[in-house]
Amino acid sequence: MKPASFEYYAPTNVDEALARLAELGYGVKVLAGGQSLVPSMNFRLAQPPALLDLNNVQELFYIRPTSDGGVAIGTMTRDSQVEHDALIKEKFPIIAAAMHFMAHPQIRNRGTFGGAIAHADPTAQLPAVVLALNGRMRIRSQQGERWVAAEEFFVGPFTSVLEPEELLVEVELPPTPAHSGWSYRQMERQAGAQALVGVAVMVSLDEAGKCRSARIAFLSVGETAVLARQAAQMLTGQKPTAELIHAAAETAANVDIEPGGDIHCSVEYRRHLAEVLARQALTEAFERAGR
């Protein structure tokens, strides 16, 4: 469990990093917190010829409010910093709640917010949470900058729209509307273990107490974090009664997702969990929205 040899680059600013990416393309892998990359290198599952270490790029470490009332998170911001940040706690308590389930504190001290997004692990919490929050990604290369919505960003297991010469530099989260509610629920076999199923839910109510919007994002049920669109549609414009929530959860589990089975969780159990968790999360989120 020793990595193969590799070249190592440690730029101190984004321009330098982008130049290196342009030069090396597929021959370089970006090192953020290293909590997934380094183990896979030790297992020799990944043998990148070169690493581009962003840990000295100070301009990528930040959490700041945006002009529209949202928050922008620099790609290198440590997970634990996001988890305990006052602004995040105030505006997006779902992030801190979900992070509680994300591996262990030691790993969150080193792991980075952008790293977890760029890694695009379908069993990870942050892609689903950012999807539920309708976040967008700021991507830079020497050619310029582009923005990609979370819904477009994740394309497959450990695969995103990022091109080899591109760098994810920021995740931006839009403000949540008034009368919003959130919930994060998951089932795991032990603290810090991979979620068998997880769900991040964001809802908002209109003045009449009807569901204005619902975003239900699952993890560990497919090739990427998955939005349950039909379930959301069932809820939109309706009073979120217990019966409706039950029906929406059932639709989410049986129509919106196509989960696979593995040694810890059969397809049937996974659908069962998805339904239970979606029901619990929707109930809790609507309760919070109504307060």
């Binding site: 469990m1 969780c265 059969s266 239970v276 968790l277």
Partner: protein
């Protein structure tokens, strides 16, 4: 007995060093010009080796040597049988197939080594693994233990013509006759799985052949340093005095580190002698999953025959056990199962039969519990089914069948792992039940708490099981106790250590005898140059066997001290007191001599020593028990099951435990905690999953889950003491206590929590996924 150190809850001598990173572990050994080894391991569970081309690996800069089995010539041969075949059991079938250094013609399990690379760094060595071209022809693997024994199964050993490794039948009384008279006979098919030992420290080895001194030094993570030295010297053709094995601090063993003459040990000592340079090999976690010995499943068809008032007339158990590709450790695991099944109960008629099968998997050797938890699980499940059938409270049916304190020593008539007919030396099982029920407030729980919680829709249940633990088996251990000129005391023993606190508990035994502070007693264990007689640390025997040997040696030294002090101080021996590192008169306390000064007098630099006298205040003694000491206890556990998510939480865990006389309750608590953790793992986490091709599906800690701190309940321990009559200190072992009863208690508690589902737990581990399936089945049935 009033004691000053013995029996006291004191902190461990070794902890400051361990906690501050100052303790020597094998990987801390750094030697000049040391090389690093890694092994090419087979991905196939079963394959023929057509050819192995090592030329590209040899050409890689930094690679010093690459060897395959063929390079080893006549040195290559299957290892010895570590435990003899149990010929004492009439009619036993035992087909011996022991582990080989590296696969030569045929690969028999995934992870079996087929080549070794020795290089200037581990990095280079791992790079070179990819340079080796092995032409392997896959063969049909033998994966499933039951299918392995069916006609027409592929064979692990063609020359054997069968996968049957052994077949053992034992009977005490006549089960068939008992069953014929019974009011009820209950049958159960029970499947039990266990897994890796999962020690924090993987295996490690540093070997150093010094060509000039013609001496081999081996640092090894072993539980049996003396056996390793003796065996390696024989294999290498060296004198035992040319080989020194040091087992420094070992970060957990839990059984598999008892396994000696492992491929790595045999190959690398040979390679070091060939190269004349030291070599380090540190097993990584991935290899640990694929190459370190483990335990796996047993499948039982068991039955119990009772009278209508719940008296056991007989038990029958027929099971199969997977031994993997080899059976170097013979039958210790299934024999432990066989002897522990009837446990604390009076079972007048007991029939037990097992068949062991070879499969293309890693060989099975004992892991903490070592077959005992399987037996306890089977018996306790039978008791629970019987209680349900007869309408008895689970605790009541147990109470009606316990062996009573006055019935010891009790002969079960079954031959155990030490090849002697099993005798339970002593015990008081009803007392452990009473204590556990009192601690968990059993009556209050079932009459008030549980109905109240059930009314709230909560699924809470309780499980109560009693178990025995055969401990402290022979053959023997020894110890040497020496008072040094400083007044401090050194102790040497060969038993080895794997983190159990021997540096403290042995020191307490000696401190008590010699009147010195515990921290002034320095214990060396696991260095064959310091003491070279002994068997090893396994089977919960360290404290019992080595502890009594050291006690005997300390008592001899005490006698020497008294004799010499009496002469020196002119005080009769009866009037002498040993305390605070000095010897003084009880009646005239100022008449005294420091212990160190006395030690110097015992080792004079001039003058004549009387004929027959031995120099110094030193003695060596040995202790070998006639048979094992039986510990036991009762566990009570309350669980809550979330029937939506299938989460099971242990709300309370109580153990009333009896390991005879306790040297240090703090250490005993720690042993129980560790054992319970393993038991919790067996209850709902740990299972090695192989696919139908024999590929391990969960060979990392990401997929193979072991309990962590967050999974552990608070463990409430009640100590009872029924001293063993077999040894002077009255000690019984405790190393496996927590592991043995936990799965059985867990199953009963889960079943009780899900009483309204009519569900029977006949297997372990019970993952959330499996619980989901069982609940779904119970809904449709």
């Amino acid at each position: 007995m009033e004691t000053k150190y013995f029996g006291k809850r004191i902190q461990r001598n070794e902890d400051p060093r361990i906690l501050t990173g100052q303790a020597l572990f094998v990987d801390d050994v750094e030697l000049p010009d040391m090389l690093h080894a890694t092994f090419l391991r087979s991905d196939y569970p079963h394959a023929r080796i057509n050819s192995i081309d090592i030329s590209a690996a040899l050409a890689r800069p930094g690679v010093i040597a690459v060897y395959t089995a063929k390079d080893m010539g006549d040195y290559w041969k299957p290892g010895p049988l570590l435990v003899p075949a149990p010929t004492a059991i009439p009619g036993v079938v035992f087909n011996k197939r022991t582990q080989v250094p590296m696969a030569r013609e045929e690969i028999r399990h995934q992870g079996e080594p087929i080549a070794v690379v020795i290089a200037k760094s581990r990095y280079i060595a791992e790079d070179a693994l990819a340079d080796i071209v092995a032409d392997l022809e896959p063969l049909d693997p033998v994966v499933d233990v039951e299918k392995a024994l069916e006609p027409g199964s592929p064979l692990v050993y063609n020359d054997l013509g069968t996968n049957l490794a052994s077949h053992v039948q034992q009977e005490n009384g006549n089960y068939a006759a008992a069953a014929a008279q019974a009011d009820v006979v209950i049958k159960a098919h029970i499947v039990i799985d266990r897994g890796i030992a999962g020690a924090m420290e993987n295996r490690g080895l540093v070997v150093q052949w010094d060509p000039k001194s013609q001496h081999l030094t081996v640092w090894a993570t072993t539980q049996a340093p003396i056996a390793l030295r003796n065996g390696l010297s024989g294999i290498l053709g060296l004198s035992e005095s040319q080989v020194r094995v040091i087992a420094p601090f070992v970060g957990g063993g839990f059984g598999p580190k008892i396994m000696v003459f492992q491929p790595e040990e045999v190959v690398l000592t040979w390679a070091s002698m060939k190269l004349g340079l030291p070599i380090k090999y540190i097993e990584d976690r991935q290899e640990n999953f694929l190459a370190m010995t483990q335990e796996r499943n047993q499948i039982h068809d068991a039955e119990i025959a009772l009278t209508k008032d719940g008296k056991i007339l007989g038990v029958k158990d027929v099971f199969v056990q997977d031994t993997g590709a080899f059976n170097s450790y013979a039958l210790t695991v299934p024999l432990n199962t066989q002897t522990h099944t009837t446990g604390p109960y009076k079972v007048p008629n007991y029939y037990s039969e097992f068949r062991v099968a070879f499969t293309d998997r890693i060989l099975v050797t004992p892991v903490r519990g070592a077959g005992r938890p399987y037996g306890v699980f089977v018996m306790e499940r039978l008791m629970d089914l019987a209680a349900k059938k007869l309408g008895l409270d689970p605790t009541e049916i147990r109470r009606r069948n316990y062996l009573q304190p006055e019935e010891f020593p009790y002969r079960t008539g079954i031959i155990g792992q030490d090849f002697a007919k099993n005798i339970l030396d002593s015990g008081n099982y009803p007392a452990t039940l009473d204590k556990a029920l009192e601690m968990i407030e059993y009556e209050q729980f079932i009459k008030e708490e549980q109905p109240k919680l059930r009314a709230q829709g909560k699924h809470v249940g309780i499980g109560v099981v009693t178990f025995t633990e055969g401990t402290g088996v022979g053959p023997y251990e020894g110890g040497r106790v020496t008072v040094e000129a400083s007044g401090k005391v050194s102790v040497a023993t060969g038993v080895g250590t794997q983190g159990q606190g021997h540096y403290t508990s042995f020191a307490q035994v000696v401190a008590e005898q010699l009147g010195v502070p515990v921290e002034d007693v320095r214990v060396v264990t696991g260095d064959t140059d310091q003491f070279h007689w002994g068997a090893g640390t396994f089977a919960s025997r360290g404290a019992t066997v080595a502890g009594n040997a050291i006690h005997a040696a300390a008592s001899l030294v005490r006698a020497k001290i008294l004799k010499l002090a009496s002469k020196t101080l002119q005080v009769p021996e009866e009037d002498l007191v040993l305390e605070n590192s000095e010897i003084h008169s009880a009646t005239h306390p100022t008449t005294c001599i420091p212990l160190g000064e006395l030690a110097v007098k015992a080792n004079p630099s001039r003058g004549a020593v009387e004929p027959g006298a031995e120099p110094g205040l030193e003695a060596t003694a040995y202790y070998g028990p006639p048979y094992g000491a039986t510990a036991g206890g009762t566990v009570a556990m309350i669980v809550e099951v979330d029937t939506e998510l299938m989460r099971v939480e242990i709300k309370r865990y109580v153990i009333a435990h009896d390991c005879g006389t306790v040297i240090n309750p703090l250490i005993v608590d720690g042993q129980i905690h560790g054992g319970v953790s393993l038991g919790v793992g067996n209850s709902f986490f740990e299972k090695l999953v192989y696919d139908e091709n024999g590929q391990l599906m969960n060979g990392t800690f990401m997929d193979y889950l072991i309990p962590r701190a967050t999974d552990m309940p608070y463990i409430e321990i009640g100590h009872l003491s029924t001293p063993s009559p077999l040894n002077p200190l009255g000690i019984k072992g405790v190393g496996e206590a927590g592991a043995i009863p936990t799965p059985a208690a867990f199953a009963q508690a889960v079943e009780n929590a899900l009483a309204d589902y009519n569900l029977e737990v006949r297997e372990i581990p019970l993952s959330p996924n499996r619980l989901f399936e069982l609940l779904e089945e119970s809904k449709t049935s």
